[in-house]
Symmetry: C2
Subunit: 331 residues, 2 copies
């Protein structure tokens, strides 16, 4: 293990905005090296100030393009921006689902922007614990805004809606009916719905459809009413997106609503609750399983269940008791 | 708590095929009552003999209809059939996604068939631990075949592919391209791909598309090559599905392959491995969190993280240490 002093130094550099330290710390966290816990212990106190912006939607909805333009707008406002792109790679074919990160490349030379791609937990299985840690690390760099871009399908989408302060759900006119129906419930909890590619056939129809879905949303008095905006990428002017300024305004309005209504407290609470739950499940299991590793005990347990001699519930109790005995002996 | 003798009696009735006992035991398991672990301890030794058949696919793909006809075919072979229908209900709108269980109703009077609907863990979040337990309970009733029908979207689909011995993935010609792409990786690990509603426009195109996707599947020598079949519901003859006999044959062939190649051992191992992992994560957390309940401690922890005074990793260690101390004091 690196000396604690080295980890401290690396985190100190991170706090000063050093990108190389960020990259190394993120690698430690992703690989769950021995430094992992120490890194997070040092990083957490320097987080919680950034605005977290979630961007989610189906593949091909144009999330990267929107992210690209939002970065430029935020930079023009003098704000620094971190981006975490969660790329669900198929556990089967091994390849990345979406490789289209080219548009973001121009920001790589801007010191006020830090972009990191991550794999998700697997196929639609939700954001990995590492994603939450990486967001914290990028916050600690001092970024004013952290954008979390995920494929809107499955648990990833729900997770990002719960972790982000402001969440955009990006739609396109050509989504299948099947997907539309599935999205209906999500629309009410996204803060801003964006119909992108609103120049395509069927856009008006789709806009009406989305408007209807939103109109039945059950909002309490004083609650934020989910917005619906449309955007169009102008092919002839690649630097421009029609509607982008309105989108930035909507984001600012939502931020103001969060502060004025104190809803930000609830949002921050929920974020930490989610993180804590995830860390608990994963870390407890790891700590208590540690003693089993390499002993062949797990295989033995599995075979005893297959043979009808044991069951998972009795095994959990047994493993926990063994762990307790080992621990109390050590004292 | 019910006396252990009562639980034992109830499980005894279950083993004799008593449906009322099955319903009650399932309710205990779903609600995680105090009887839950005892029930599973008694049930496990009587499981592991049934053939587990997974049926998954998008909403509207016709899974219920196929399940309905497969039940009839298996019954005609003299086999008893249990069915677990996993209905993912939206956590947002509260309603069930798919309510179309009407076709299955005719089997409710058949003593050789037991059907149970269950909610999934939430929105595409994977099969709940209760689902695994319920499958075990239905196996213990002595069913020859247990069909697990889930909406093919997200983690549910992957879970059922891993738990079932033979898994059908049901496609339809009118699926969006978006979904098609997402399914490509899954096709190779489904044992049998079914293009249902193969009389619709675009069916030929879709069949070719599916065939292409399968042709690049990487199979080792001697491994099962995923099959592709098509089926058509004949509206004029509601009792009939074109292609159903071929489907039953394909299922039988896959079963024979599993036995002859001994692949069944791996499949059974993976199933138990998955169950064990899930039980570990959930039960450990529950056991160790028990002491925190109602103490307001969790809120305190969350607030300390928000204030930048603490972090999830230190908290997990603290909670585990507190738990250890309480346990060793009791001894």
């Amino acid at each position: 293990m690196k000396k604690i002093k080295d980890v401290e130094k690396m985190v100190q550099l991170l706090l000063e905005g050093d990108r190389r330290s960020a990259a190394r710390l993120i690698t430690w966290v992703e690989n769950e090296t021995k430094e992992h816990h120490e890194v997070m212990r040092l990083v957490y106190p320097h987080t919680g100030q950034a605005m977290l912006l979630g961007i989610t939607g189906s593949g091909g909805a144009g999330k990267s393009t929107l992210t690209d333009h939002l970065i430029s707008k935020f930079r023009a406002q003098g704000k620094t921006v971190g981006v975490v792109v969660v790329d669900p790679s198929s556990p089967f074919s091994g390849g990345a689902f979406l490789g289209d990160r080219i548009r973001l490349q121009k920001h790589f030379l801007d010191d006020g922007v830090y972009i990191r791609s991550m794999a998700s937990r697997g196929y639609l299985g939700g954001l990995s614990k590492a994603t939450y840690d990486v967001i914290r690390i990028i916050e600690a760099m001092g970024m004013d805004i952290v954008i979390i871009e995920t494929l809107g399908a499955g648990q990833d989408e729900i997770d990002v809606i719960h972790i982000a302060h402001t969440c955009l759900l990006v739609h396109t006119p050509n989504m299948g009916d099947d997907i539309q129906a599935m999205k209906a419930g999500i629309m009410e909890i996204a803060d801003i719905n964006v119909l992108n590619k609103a120049d395509l056939d069927g856009a008006e129809n789709c806009l009406r459809h989305l408007q209807n879905a939103l109109s039945v949303a059950h909002m309490e008095e004083g609650e934020w009413l989910p917005k619906l905006l449309s955007t169009v990428s102008v092919a002839s002017k690649p630097g421009d997106i029609k509607g982008i300024n309105k989108l930035v305004t909507a984001i600012t309005e939502h931020q103001e609503y969060l502060k004025e209504s104190k809803a930000i407290d609830r949002v921050k609470y929920e974020r930490v609750e989610q993180e804590l739950g995830l860390v608990f499940k994963d870390e407890l299991q790891k700590m208590i399983f540690k003693g089993l590793k390499g002993t062949g005990k797990k295989r033995e347990y599995i075979n005893s269940i297959i043979e009808g001699e044991n069951n998972p519930y009795s095994i959990v109790e047994e493993v926990l008791n063994t762990y307790l005995k080992t621990k109390s002996k050590k004292k």
